[in-house]
């Protein structure tokens, strides 16, 4: 059962082959068995999940079920879940029981999905390896010495090891696509504004976007269908009709124009990994796609621009964690300043502190123009590069990451090298575009991700392009033997 996709599970539930309760029970069993090794969950919600499963079974019996009814999912611990600890991977929120549901969670609840638990993540989504979590590093199911990527590392590992049918992730600079690539699963970060951010704990508000982490593109379509749409509680969410994401999955892609940005195939790219990506692109040619080289000339500026904008926004977004109303408060504060200093000093980890300091500096009087304003201008240039490119091509493809998963501890003390592991994914966030990563093969026995970037609100096309590849390949069906 655990090897099945959402689409297959939904069919099984509908035909009565198994119940949601049985299915949920089987995932909970697998979590018990395997997660002590992987550490992909922060919170497992056994009782609540089984109650949801029972309710889903009733709904299935009454014929009012949708495609996600009774499907056991894992939710990244960045989404507020009513009555359930929502830690965001931080000691700061270790004691925080959210009094409300994020819009995304509300939607999954309305769809009848089961929430198995909350997945591990880099603290406040700041990290590319899941090593910054207060709850400890997550391991990559393909090699437990390696990182799963981050920040949605727990979700990626859980889906890769089939400890959930699928999971949610959030992506600020690659936090869905990079771990999806490193763990050999499918992930989509939709266009900025496609999915409500309400109830999703903010890291960098102008970049954060929720998305899916699944086995297949078809599953991503099914999940995104539920997640996407206007929410009046999020002013940056677009009031734009949501297309049927499964309707065009089977369209052929003859004549599809694929752009390969030369900057993404340049230095720093592992040559063995490059071969895997090239083979995947050859597969697309066989499917009738046309491939052209393009240029995104300002690509090199994306990492520096990102590491001004994201920390600047985070420095402000994280000010609310002050020990006054919720979250960690130091023992016996002497006065207000002591309360702030020790509560924040104790509650935040070092990567979060580093970014708060960078961001505070970038926004300071006298530096604002040189850093924040300039970064915003660079951001515009990067968006313009993509706009220009999409005049000539339908989608852009590139390696999701420059290398396969690195080992735990390998880059932990070198923030710059760590930041560069997101070099291929960051520009997409700066431009607000949708981006996907799909399993494209293996290099050194570790998964390789192919990134597919689309034009604004072109998620349906991305899913179609990904699905077509998955009809002729089986990388996405492979799973690490250790967890089979």
């Amino acid at each position: 059962m655990y090897q099945m996709t959402i689409a297959e599970l939904a069919a099984g539930l509908k035909s009565g082959q198994f119940s949601s309760e049985e299915l949920t029970q089987s995932y909970l069993q697998r979590i018990k068995q395997y997660d002590p090794e992987l550490n992909s969950y922060i919170t497992v919600l056994e009782e609540q999940a089984l109650a949801q499963a029972k309710a889903a079974d009733q709904r299935l019996a009454s014929g009012t079920a949708g495609p996600l009814t009774g499907i056991p999912l894992a939710q990244k611990d960045i989404f507020c879940t009513n009555g359930v600890k929502t830690s965001c991977g931080s000691k700061m929120l270790d004691n925080f029981i959210s009094p409300y549901d994020a819009t995304v969670i509300e939607k999954f609840n309305a769809a009848g999905a089961v929430m198995l638990g909350k997945t591990n993540m880099d603290e406040f989504a700041m990290g590319s390896s899941n090593e910054t979590s207060f709850y400890g590093a997550v391991k990559n199911p393909w090699n437990t010495k390696a990182v799963p990527g981050g920040s949605s590392g727990g979700s990626a590992a859980a889906v890769a090891a089939r400890l959930a049918a699928a999971a949610t992730g959030t992506d600020t600079g690659g936090s869905i696509r990079q771990p999806a690539a490193l763990c050999g699963i499918t992930g989509i970060k939709p266009t900025y504004g496609r999915v409500s951010r309400y109830g999703m704990i903010a890291f960098a508000s102008s970049l954060d976007q929720a998305g899916t982490m699944t086995q297949t593109a078809e599953d991503s379509a099914l999940m995104l269908q539920v997640m996407a749409g206007f929410d009046e509680r999020d002013s940056t969410c677009l009031d734009k009709a949501v297309p049927d994401y499964t309707a065009n999955l089977n369209d052929d892609i003859k004549g599809l124009k694929i752009g390969l940005p030369k900057e993404y195939f340049a230095e720093g790219l592992d040559s063995d990994l490059a071969k895997v990506v090239e083979a995947a692109i050859d597969e697309y040619k066989k499917l009738g796609a046309e491939v052209v080289e393009i240029s995104l000339p300002n690509s090199a500026l994306s990492v520096p621009a990102y590491y001004v904008v994201a920390p600047a926004e985070c420095s402000s977004n994280l000010s609310r964690f002050d020990g006054v109303r919720f979250g960690h408060r130091c023992d016996d504060p002497q006065d207000l300043e002591d309360l702030y200093k020790r509560s924040r000093g104790e509650g935040f980890g070092s990567e979060v502190k580093r970014r708060i300091m960078i961001g505070t500096y970038a926004l300071s009087a006298g530096y604002y123009d040189a850093y924040y304003l300039k970064a915003q201008k660079v951001r515009q240039l990067i968006s313009d590069d993509f706009k220009q490119a999409f005049k000539d091509v339908d989608v852009i493809m590139a390696p999701t990451t420059p290398t396969v998963a690195f080992n735990i501890g390998e880059k932990a003390d070198d923030p710059i090298t760590m930041y560069l592991s997101d070099i291929n994914t960051i520009a997409v966030n700066l431009a607000g575009l949708p981006g996907m990563s799909i399993p494209a093969g293996f290099s050194k026995e570790m998964p390789v991700g192919l990134q597919i970037i689309g034009n604004y609100f072109d998620e349906a096309r991305l899913l179609n392009v990904a699905h077509q590849y998955q009809t002729v390949t089986d990388w996405h069906r492979r799973m690490p033997e250790q967890f089979a």
Binding site: F96, P99, R197, A202, D322, T360
Partner: protein, 477 residues
């Protein structure tokens, strides 16, 4: 040396919306602590602000009323600082692109002249909560009911030259926001308060002196006292050979002094940047035109109309139009009694006096405009005298009914029957032969004595003019 005072005011006025600027929580004043603070107001993790469009309409209305430039695309920014009553660690305000740009307001000076005061800008922002010290030991409570209440911060140019001018400006602005119905202007509840930037310079010098910012002044009286204190302090510092330092000072009304809160060096760096959670506020020509149509007649125009149409003095017209309620009240009285001067006298005199005495607002007046007009009609048709009118007003104020009812009930109808007055007069003449002689010999002042005696005997119900006439006839004067 002769010194000149330079003042600029920053007025914070609470906008009269039902819900908060970025959440659906109620803005009603006086609720139990933290009962009107929703997840957004508490700054819970994950929540997002959504702009209440009504505040934009109110800001546009204000901008039109002060003839200001309206910013087609204005931007909300975050003002970052830590304080326990600031839940998010930043206040959402407007910084580089405020919704209302340069405008102006005419004020009236004591000498009757007018002066134009420039308004630099007005921007929208959210209020903070408040710290509560009462009832806590070694702790401070936080009440977030006020957090997220919409404010319009109105910043003047440094055009004001005295505490009196500052008060006149503040009063005019207060009257304006109430006319526009964008604020209740309630100063006790903090709906209308100001900070004053004050500096002094030798008369004739062009450059401004170093300024001090006086924080959070919440009454007209305090603004005058705080500025006067501060001006004296600054002059003393300079004349004593010292230098005024740029700083923020708090006015303490109990001690009637200002004292330093923080100096320029300690001034906070608010790290403003555009709030990524909110879209820029776009206002269209159509929106502006639609709002323009809803603008009420403004105080200046109303004052001029009252002077032209009703021939009121500038003083009376200004006083009556200083509040929209009073102007409306006056218009009702005047329309019914058709005597503007009489209506103006009663509204600005007896009525205002009674309101002040009981600490009541016009909206709570026991004597409605209709009631007052009804009484003035009886005064005009000589049913009652001015003196009786005062008595009737007092009875109406005490809730004894309208003027006609009181006149009937108390028998206050003026005696116009000549025979009745003559018989009273005869008695008085007989009883005061000495005074009669003196009057006859030319001591005209004694007319008043006789009229007074008649009024006394008739309980004020005689018409003094008529008594006067009858007396002259009887004594052949």
């Amino acid at each position: 040396m002769e010194w000149e005072t330079v003042i600029g005011l920053e007025i914070h006025t609470q906008l009269a919306t039902n819900s908060k600027i970025f959440s659906g929580a109620s803005t009603a004043y006086g609720a139990e602590a933290n009962t009107q603070a929703c997840a957004v107001d508490l700054g819970l993790p994950g929540v997002l602000p959504v702009l209440n469009r009504e505040v934009v309409n109110m800001a546009i209305k204000f901008g039109l009323a002060i003839d200001a430039e309206l910013t087609p695309v204005s931007v909300f920014a975050r003002k970052n600082y830590f304080y326990p009553d600031l839940p998010k660690g930043y206040q959402i305000s407007q910084y580089e692109l405020p919704i209302v740009g340069l405008g102006k307001l005419e004020i009236e000076l004591e000498n009757g002249e007018t002066k134009i005061i420039g308004v630099t800008r007005a921007h929208l922002e959210e209020d903070a909560g408040k710290s509560v010290h009462e009832g806590f030991t070694n702790m401070t409570g936080i009440d977030l009911n006020r957090a997220g209440t919409p404010l319009l911060e109105i910043v003047s140019e440094p055009d004001l030259r005295s505490a009196k001018e500052a008060v006149a400006y503040m009063k005019k602005m207060h009257s304006l926001v109430r006319y526009l119905e964008i604020s209740d202007g309630n100063m006790q509840e903090g709906s209308f308060r100001c900070d004053a930037n004050v500096s002094v310079r030798p008369k004739g010098q062009k450059e401004f002196g170093t300024r001090a910012e006086l924080k959070n002044i919440n009454s007209f009286r305090f603004v005058e006292r705080a500025i006067n204190f501060e001006v004296e302090r600054q002059i003393d510092v300079i004349e004593g050979g010292g230098k005024v330092v740029q700083e923020t000072r708090l006015y303490d009304a109990n001690k009637d002094e200002t004292r330093s809160m923080r100096s320029k060096e300690e001034a906070m760096d608010y790290r403003y940047f555009p709030d990524p959670d909110l879209l820029p506020v776009v206002i269209t020509e159509k929106q502006i035109d639609d709002i323009r149509k809803t603008l009420p007649e403004l105080p200046g125009a109303k004052r001029d109309r009252f002077m032209n149409d009703f021939k009121l003095s500038r003083e009376d017209a200004s006083l009556i139009t200083s509040s929209r309620e009073m102007a409306d009240y006056f218009e009702v009285v005047n329309a019914k009694c058709q005597d503007a001067k009489l209506a103006a006298n009663w509204v600005t005199g007896t009525l205002t006096g009674a309101l002040n005495k009981d600490g009541k607002d016009l909206s709570d007046s026991p004597v409605s405009a209709d009631m007052l007009a009804g009484m003035l009609l009886r005064l005009k048709d000589n049913t009652i005298s001015g003196k009786i009118a005062k008595e009737i007003f007092e009875a109406m104020w005490q809730g004894e009914g309208d003027a006609d009812t009181i006149i009937d009930k108390k028998g206050l109808k003026q005696i116009t029957d000549t025979g009745a007055i003559e018989s009273v007069l005869d008695e008085i003449i007989a009883a005061n032969p000495k005074q009669v002689e003196e009057l006859k010999s030319g001591k005209d002042k004694l007319m008043g004595f006789f009229v007074g005696q008649v009024m006394k005997q008739t309980g004020g119900k005689a018409n003094p003019g008529q008594v006067n006439q009858l007396l002259r006839k009887k004594l052949d004067l």
